[in-house]
């Protein structure tokens, strides 16, 4: 164990603090005061902000690689399809290899289109 001799240097801020760290604090936390300029931000729920943030400009988000909702199986049926498609491709490949070795299952041959 090392013992630093002074107050720890900032961890992850500046260079390392990610955008999500900053946004979740400056948008969702802090003292809420309705200023003279009223904005939606002050009365919408945390989740709404997050969704708006990403969904308000889906194209932009995708451009930045923000498409987590598409690959999260809990959120997207497409992700589940992708998983199936991946396995399907794997199986096809295996079948092709077996066929090359002349070991193709007879039934597959008989029933195939």
């Amino acid at each position: 164990m090392t013992t630093p001799s002074r107050l720890p240097e900032p961890y992850g801020q500046g260079s390392g603090a990610n955008l999500a760290d900053i946004l979740e604090r400056v948008l969702d936390k802090g003292v809420v005061i309705a200023g003279d300029i009223r904005i939606n931000l002050l009365d919408i729920e945390l989740l709404t902000i997050k969704l708006r943030l990403v969904v308000a400009s889906v194209d932009k988000a995708k451009e930045m690689g923000i498409d987590w909702w598409e690959s999260d199986p809990a959120l997207s049926s497409r992700a589940r399809r992708d998983e199936l498609a991946r396995e399907n491709a794997e199986l096809r490949e295996r079948l092709a290899r077996l066929e090359e070795l002349g070991l193709e299952p007879r039934r597959a041959q008989e029933e195939g289109p």
Binding site: P10, Q13, V32
Partner: protein, 261 residues
């Protein structure tokens, strides 16, 4: 200069000046507006960007929002090195100085109470990630599995993969729960935040714990060491520490409760 007043934070008067080059939102340097012994840290911002209509439009623009968020955090961060600021939520804008003063007067009591509560404290963020070759954002498996030689072999490997993944999740949950217990015990207060969107954060793995801890500045070293010690000996699990932040996660409730929606 005319324009609107963007307020970052409220704090007590402090002795050390902020760094000279510090710029805030829209490039304007943060200025101090003292009223009844409290200081509001403000920037002058153009109406063209911060009046109701343009502001609403801007908030839909991720690039604009990112720039403002970073500038806002930059000022709060600078304040945190010299005092204990009460950070206000992004986009708190008044017409003029007198609007800011009126607000400070109306909330004077509550500001003082919260400042007392947070005095000398900072916030540390701790996140736990499960590193996994099956999370969506890390599709390239670093551990090459041996090629299955038979169908049975293939199925066995698949079962093992699923099982080891389940085990990892279970271990991660236990790990995160235990870590949170330990750190809560070492902190004055804590908040659990929603797990982060992996792509917005740019972090690999899946975020299973996203917590904030309120820690006295003088005990920070000890707290950080506690976190550091947990980093080893948990394969497949990653711990990330950020801070010291201003006490963002602990500044809001009291005032919000008083005012109502």
């Amino acid at each position: 200069m005319t324009g609107l007043r963007y307020v970052y934070a409220v704090c007590r008067p402090y002795g050390t000046p902020l760094q000279a080059q510090l710029t805030g939102v829209g490039g304007d340097p943060p200025r101090l507006l003292t009223h009844h012994g409290l200081v509001a840290v403000v920037s002058h911002v153009p109406e063209a960007d911060f009046a109701e209509e343009p502001l609403r439009a801007h908030l839909e623009d991720l690039d604009w929002l990112t720039a403002v968020a970073r500038a806002h955090q930059g000022v709060i961060d600078a304040l945190t090195t010299v005092t204990t600021p009460l950070p206000l939520r992004l986009g708190t804008v008044f017409r003029d100085d007198s609007g800011v003063r009126t607000m400070m007067e109306a909330r004077e009591e509550s500001f003082r109470r919260t400042l007392d509560r947070l005095e000398g404290r900072v916030e540390w963020g701790v996140k736990v990630y499960v590193e996994s070759d099956r999370t969506p954002d890390a599709p390239a498996a670093p551990v090459p599995a041996p090629k299955p030689v038979s169908g049975r072999d293939y199925l066995r490997q698949r079962r093992e993969r699923t099982k080891s993944q389940d085990d990892l999740w279970q271990r991660a949950e236990t790990f995160a729960t235990r870590l949170h217990e330990t750190l809560s015990g070492a902190a004055e207060d804590c908040r659990l935040h929603a797990p982060q969107n992996p792509t917005l954060s740019g972090a690999s793995g899946r975020n299973v714990l996203n917590a904030a801890y309120l820690v006295p500045r003088v005990e920070s070293e000890e707290f950080v060491e506690k976190v550091e010690r947990t980093k080893d000996g948990a394969p497949g699990i990653r711990v990330e520490l950020t801070g010291p932040w201003a006490a963002y996660s602990f500044a809001g409730e009291e005032i919000a409760e008083e005012e109502g929606p």
